[in-house]
């Protein structure tokens, strides 16, 4: 089957533009929705059609764009971006559907920006040319800048938008210069013609010293976008000010694009640097997991609980990528898909909860909704359990692979990261219980899910369940190319792992100390639970 990725890519932006130009009150929403749904249909057929045995890119579109600079308009799909494209299409469709049933000021403009955002994300995921990637990566910022700046709460949106722009622009500029340097230096050092095409650049490996700073520039851009500790300064304000359907795609997809950047660009192009900075990246990931988790269970703003929780979950993804082996990478790609699939419905649920708590998104104002909203409670429970990566969910499979990958070569990081696994259950359940259980909050008016909202939430939850039952599908579709994307770095990091099918006698490792430590850590985590959810907030007086 021939699939034209350009069609997939430009459909949402085209629909958004048409909606902006054509008259009619409902045209914009209908068109935007159709555009995203079309992209989703296209992505689904790509997933079905995708040949997992073939290596390399599929459905490639390759046109020379700017000949003098060696920039190509090259799109393609492989195991690394296949399910992320599906995720992006799915979440944008869900978000559009959600937004379509609500009133917006200047709706045409709103849906236009959503459409452009969708195309930008798809472009960044599909681009197989470094310059094209950078262009789409930066294009992503613009619609979200508007969506926050125009439709955010009037009082605080300017601060939020300024922070967001400054942070990401710094990252973008670093990335832009790094991208140019990559192509120019690669051509210079190897004496070839200038080219930005990724597959060309991969063959022209830069000198180790050059790789280092370029890698760091890219890493900075990606880490800010996710965000990772300690460059998450824009996140609290940014999250507070985005309209919820916008936040759902922002948190669900845009952060994954950054993680994807590591696998698509940083690891294959700069393997020496990736090995060089492996420990640094693992440390940043670990810090994000621990810091994000601690923040998530001390804040009382439901949005930020989800925000910091995303930070922790993205920490796991980075951990998996920088395990620099097959299992870590497989887990990271799966987890990127899973996390998006979970965090978006979580934000939708949050919108419904806020609507029932008199507009407040503070968990102290919520409570006791489950009784009158059993369907909503069940959906939220499934989402919550998936978010805390309960075994049986695909999120657990992702985490299992990630931590197994890390454990293979860097056991200490894996063991420390497990603290985050236990903490996730504390902050996620705390959110669930505070919203759904306990006494009814003073301003709470509970009612069950409306059909329009159910149309968004139920399919997403069904998708969570489906992938929980059969995570094999994303794992096996992606296996070949995901493994290839880390191959260069993996081979540099050490001899091929002896673990697995062929057991080889290994020198005994001093694990007893680690084991004792682990038990202490486990006991410590137990205690966290035992004391309930510790935090700065106090129980509201009855």
């Amino acid at each position: 089957m021939t699939l034209h990725l350009s069609l997939l890519l430009w459909l949402p932006a085209l629909a958004g533009t048409l909606g902006l130009l054509l008259p009619g009150r409902l045209t914009a929403r209908a068109l935007a929705l159709l555009g995203s749904a079309g992209a989703l249909g296209y992505a689904i057929s790509a997933v079905i059609d995708f040949d997992r045995r073939a290596g390399g890119l599929q459905y490639v579109t390759d046109e020379t764009w700017i000949r003098t600079l060696g920039i190509h308009y090259k799109l393609g799909m492989d195991g690394v971006n296949l399910f992320l494209v599906l995720l992006a299409a799915g979440l944008f469709t869900a978000s559009m559907l959600w937004a379509a049933s609500r009133e917006w000021e200047r709706p045409k403009l709103f849906f236009f920006h959503m459409g452009v955002g969708h195309t930008a994300v798809l472009g960044a995921l599909l681009a197989q040319d470094l310059a094209l990637f950078v262009a789409f990566f930066d294009l992503m910022l613009i619609p979200f800048f508007f969506l926050t700046g125009i439709w955010g709460p009037a009082r605080t949106r300017v601060t939020a938008v300024t922070k967001l722009v400054i942070y990401t622009l710094v990252g973008s500029l670093l990335m832009l210069s790094a991208a140019i340097a990559t192509a120019v230096l690669a051509a210079e050092q190897n004496g070839t013609e200038l080219s930005f095409v990724l597959s060309d650049l991969q063959k022209l490996r830069l000198g180790a010293g050059t790789q280092d700073w370029i890698f760091l520039f890219f890493a900075a851009a990606f880490l800010v976008k996710m965000p990772m500790f300690p460059v998450h300064g824009w996140m609290p304000d940014g999250y507070r000010n985005m309209p919820l359907p916008v936040l759902a795609v922002f948190s669900g997809v845009l952060s994954k694009v950054a993680a994807y950047g590591f696998l698509r660009i940083a690891l294959p192009l700069f393997p020496d640097a990736a090995v060089q900075f492996q420990d640094l990246m693992l440390l940043i990931a670990l810090a994000s997991i621990l810091y994000g988790s601690a923040m998530a269970f001390t804040t009382t703003e439901a949005r930020l609980i989800l925000g910091y929780s995303s930070m922790a979950q993205l920490g796991f993804i980075v951990l998996g990528i920088f395990a620099l082996n097959d299992r870590g990478a497989q887990g990271a790609v799966l987890q990127a898909f899973n996390h998006g699939l979970v965090v978006a419905p979580a934000f939708f649920v949050l919108a419904l909860l806020a609507a029932r708590a008199g507009g407040s998104e503070d968990i102290r104002d919520m409570g006791g909704v489950a009784l009158r909203a059993p369907v909503l409670a069940v959906l939220f429970l499934i989402v919550a359990l998936a978010n805390l990566a309960m075994p049986g969910s695909a999120n657990f499979v992702g985490e299992f692979y990630i931590l197994l990958g890390v454990f293979q070569d860097k056991p200490v990081y894996a063991i420390l990261a497990f603290t985050g696994v236990a903490l996730a259950s504390v902050y996620t359940l705390r959110l669930f219980i505070r919203a759904m259980h306990n006494r009814v909050g003073p301003r709470v008016e509970s009612s069950d899910l409306k059909v329009a909202d159910g149309l968004v939430l139920v399919p997403l939850v069904l998708a969570i369940l489906a992938v929980a039952l059969y995570p094999q599908l994303p794992l096996e579709k992606g296996e070949k190319t995901v493994v290839a994307s880390v191959a260069a770095a993996r081979d540099l990091a050490g001899p091929p792992a002896a673990i697995g099918a062929t057991p080889v006698a290994q020198p005994p490792k001093p694990v007893s100390g680690a084991a004792a430590w682990m038990e202490a850590a486990a006991a410590a985590e137990a205690a966290a639970a035992a004391g309930g959810a510790p935090g700065v907030e106090e129980e509201p007086a009855p």
Binding site: T159, I166, P374, F396, I433, A528
Partner: protein, 666 residues
Amino acid sequence: METTAWLVLAFPLAGAILIGLLAQHVPAKLTGYLGTLAIGGAFVSAVLTFLSLQGREEEARQVVFVGWDYARSVGVDAQISILVDPLSVLMILVVSGVSTLIHLYSVAYMESDQGYARFFAYLNFFVFSMLLLVLAGNFMLLIVGWAFVGAASYLLISFWYRRTTATKAGIKAFVINVVGDVGLVLGTYFIFKHTGTLDFLGTFDSVERDFEGSTGDLTAGCLLLLVGAFAKSAQIPLHTWLPDAMEGPTPVSALIHAATMVTAGVYLIARMHPLFEQAPAAADTGAIIGAVTLLVAGTIAIVVTDLKRVIAYSTMSQIGYMIMGVSAGAYVAGLFHLMTHAFFKALLFMAAGSVIAAMGGRQDLDSMGGFRKAMPYTFACFCIGGLALAAVPPFSGFFSKDEILLDLGAEGGWHWVLYVAGYVGSLLTAVYTFRLIFRAFFNDPVPEAQELMDGHLHHPAEAANPATGETEDTDVGFPGADHHIAEQSPFMRVAMGILALGAIVGGFIQIPKVTHGLESFLDPTFARSEIEVEPSDGLIYFGLVLGAVLGLLGIAIAYRIWVQKPGTSAAIQARLSVLHKLFSNKWYFDELIELVVVRPLSWFGRFGQQTFERIFVNGALVGGTTGLVRAGSAAVRAVQSGYLRSYAALLLGGLAVVGFYFLLQA
């Protein structure tokens, strides 16, 4: 056999889903029957599986059935596969059998609860999870079942979710169980690292070869598996969730916190015995923790005054025996005690539920008494359960506990310490069990008992949470308008009657020198075990006599203290006030955990929230930003917020123009 084995899982799962979907559309009563039928179906399937397993050659009684590839990639062989062998069949028989009776009991007990359908959906899901746990044929599925059990337990503990005490207990149980999950996963990593397979049989086949020269990893792996076992089986120091879990409805306590969930740790150690036998340090740790737990829990059970919590601590203590047994190589004995304990502990909880209902929901022993005449059937059941728990011959607990201690004694070496601890625990068990019986059923009838004798069930004027005194929100259920006691409900009587029968005769399956039913049944699973003990005749007779004497002595002590001379207990308390304080504060484990973990963690959280985020993130890193915003905000206000918009519009437009230009160039 393949079909029946899968059906064991399919029935409860289908039950849970069906009840969940139908709950709003059919009469509530129907969901109770549906749930009971589903578990009954699982039990029948389990029996059929048992029969066809017994029909096979002894060497062929370990069979793996593969459903589908679950997450099989880059050398990780995670499949949906189940292992049917005598051990798993014993477990599914016990779990589905006892669960069927508990469902039957709940049909009546929960009748007036608003959350009736929800209760049965959860209960079915719980049984499914537990069956999945024991049938799992590989580590991945084991972990899944393990976690599902924890989640189901959380749902059931916080079943009355408008009670803050219940939701707190729920999250505590869940999180401690997650710690256990983490232990299990990490343990799996250590083992997988050498064996390269998640499959149980594949792992066991090559243990010795794979871990040659790296017993450190194996020991670490087994210790981590123990963390999982301790969390689920409420062993020190991961036990603090179990007493709090009594917040759930009484059938839940009976099902989860006595008969099934808490035995998962025992099952795990028995299942992993080929690993533990190669890692003696880990096995010894398990045995010691089991012994410590059985003693500590026993001492707490003597002073606690909440009816259900006494039984909860007794569960902890009995699981301690089992963990001690299976860790020290007494596999059959440990599983034997698991089975008899499932009968008599479920029975005790059911009887306790009946008493609590008669008390209008109150659980404190201090306000109970004299129920003997008012509730003869409940009293009889409580006594049978109590005698079995106190290990008085010929009740089932006598033979199973004796078997564990006998094996430990015969093993010799330092295991005599465990042997002695076991008998000390035996005495404690008899004392606290009969303290319970004497205080609840003897002496003068309290008003509630009197009311019942007058032919009327006590109803409190206003339902209140016994723990906090706050008025109950009866919307979500208990206490509803009606209570049900065994004396008046045929369902409850039948369920308790069958369990009472099991508690009496269950021990005859395995009597020293007489019958060996369980041992020969389980033999295929433990065939490769290297631990062989042949207790001498002298030890056998000494143990039987000592066990019987201690049980009766304990009852006599309890009778003396709480019936003959009611003032004695206060006198003892006064004289041993330090010990009493230690025991009634549960050895200060909650406080210890608070001090070591919760305080530092919340300090860290507060530091991050109040200091780090404010100063570092908002100050230093974006100091320029905020300054810029403040300076620029006046200008922004001057041209209105449209300024930002037009600025960004310009950006977008510019980008489009540049893009278009290059497009034309190309």
